[in-house]
């Protein structure tokens, strides 16, 4: 699946929920399935400075595709990260660098990406793209 196809799949999954509670319950569940970052990487280098909940992110490249792992001490934040990672993990750096995560708006979570939410997700997206660009540069050399 392409990034776009994965985004569309998530949008239609979330389309099944009428109630915000069901949406959030699902987000929390997804967080539990996220590939967790190795404990040894939970260091200041992998910490993304958001305001309230702590988020750690790691990326490794395998056969030209990036594998992300992450964790957060807040479960809703973790769930939303898992959505992002579902979409970008196992993709090529150039595709990730171009992703715009428009699906978050479609499933009604865009608020969480606003800088005022102070949950670090904006920095999270930035960091995902930084990893992608760094790997892109490495590939070119």
């Amino acid at each position: 699946m392409t990034i776009k196809e994965k985004e569309d799949a998530l949008v239609s999954e979330f389309g099944m929920f009428d109630e915000w509670m069901d949406k959030y319950s699902y987000i929390i569940e997804l967080g539990k399935e996220m590939p967790l970052i190795d404990e040894k990487h939970k260091d200041p280098q992998h910490l993304i400075s958001g305001c309230q909940s702590r988020v750690w992110l790691n990326a490794e490249i395998k056969d030209g595709k990036i594998q992300f792992t992450a964790d957060s001490d807040a479960v809703i934040t973790k769930g939303i990260i898992s959505l992002l990672l579902k979409v970008v993990s196992n993709e090529e750096p150039k595709d990730i660098a171009g992703a715009n995560f428009g699906f978050l708006e479609k499933i009604g979570l865009k608020d969480h990406l606003s800088p005022t939410r102070a949950n670090g997700l904006v920095s999270m997206v930035k960091q995902i793209k930084l990893y992608a660009k760094a790997f892109q540069l490495k590939n070119m050399n």
Binding site: W20, M21, Y24, S25, I28, C51, Q52, S53, R54, D73, A74, V75, I76, T77, A118, N119
Partner: protein
Amino acid sequence: MNINIEKIRSDFPILSHKINGKQLVYFDNGATNQKPMQVINCISDYYSNMNSNVHRGVHQLSQNATTAFEESRKYVADFINADSEKEIIFTHGTTESINLIANSFENIIGKGDEILITVMEHHSNLVPWQQLCFKKGAKLKVVPITDEGDLDMVFLDSMLSEKVKLLAFAHISNVMGTINPVKEITAKAHKLGIPVLIDGAQAIAHAKVDVTDLDCEFYCFSAHKAYGPMGMGVLYGKQQWLNNLQPYQYGGEMISTVSFEKTAFNELPYKFEAGTPNVAGALAMAEGLRYIDNIGIGNIVEHEDDLLNYATNKLTDIDGMRIVGRSKNKTSVISFLVGDIHPYDIGTLLDQMGVAVRTGNHCAQPLIDNFCIPGTVRASFAIYNSREEIDYFIGALKKSLAMLA
């Protein structure tokens, strides 16, 4: 009870708003409280009918604006029982009031001197002193607190000494609601000739503030935490102190005569008010305080105490509940954690149900670190809140906890 909550609520237009499709329950009053029509109308009335620069024009509008502006100052002076309106400096808020004093103390603080604050200070009453100390080679000393969230008076006594050039502390903690024994502490400091600055941001709308009785040198507060507008606040200072301090900013309004060689500064309070002031803000601030007076601070305290006790009892029944700040003397501020659930998760779900609370470190990071916690959820009440809202909040909280378990 002597107050009519329904009537009070009808004064606050924002309270009828829906958030995420649900009736708003506003429990973030510690951050800022909502404004009654009286205050909102006052601002619009000023700009519709009175707007003009103050202290300058001979024309009628300017005279009217100046009179109204100075009457507001008088109202504030009476509200906190200051000796004279000369002791009321208008600022942008608590933060600027504290910075003004920190700046003006640059001449007073020297190498080896100490400034004493407490663990429970808001960043606004910490960083200005810390930076002043850095600049002057002075030492910032911090009075610890007990597990309940009271100041440790034994430590305080041992830390007061001739080296201390200022004691600055909060009247009421914005995280724990602790009401500090301000008068008693001020008297202790005065025994050693130490001046006292009190951060009254959380007190002005929730406790009787009488600066003559407290006898403090400086008292700071923000209008927006007292049903008034944002961007407006007060520095109260005893006249003999203010007279001796250097000005904070320079420009128009704060001078009496100017030549290219020298400037004579204006008298109090204008010496500390450079530039065109926030006239609408001053009028609306006084209107907010008048709103408090009309209900009566005694009635407000009684009502908010009732809410505090009611909510504390209901919260205590919840499994894994930890209330941070259990002083016997507190206002209606409740910080809590449940098990190891992150405050952010609880705040996010409560928001979905229309309940506005604050989560995080509440601009008091050292205090949060002191408890070794990731932050708290904070519910803080005001005069328009009700037991019914607390019932709804408890229900919403239980629902959130079930989802997060």
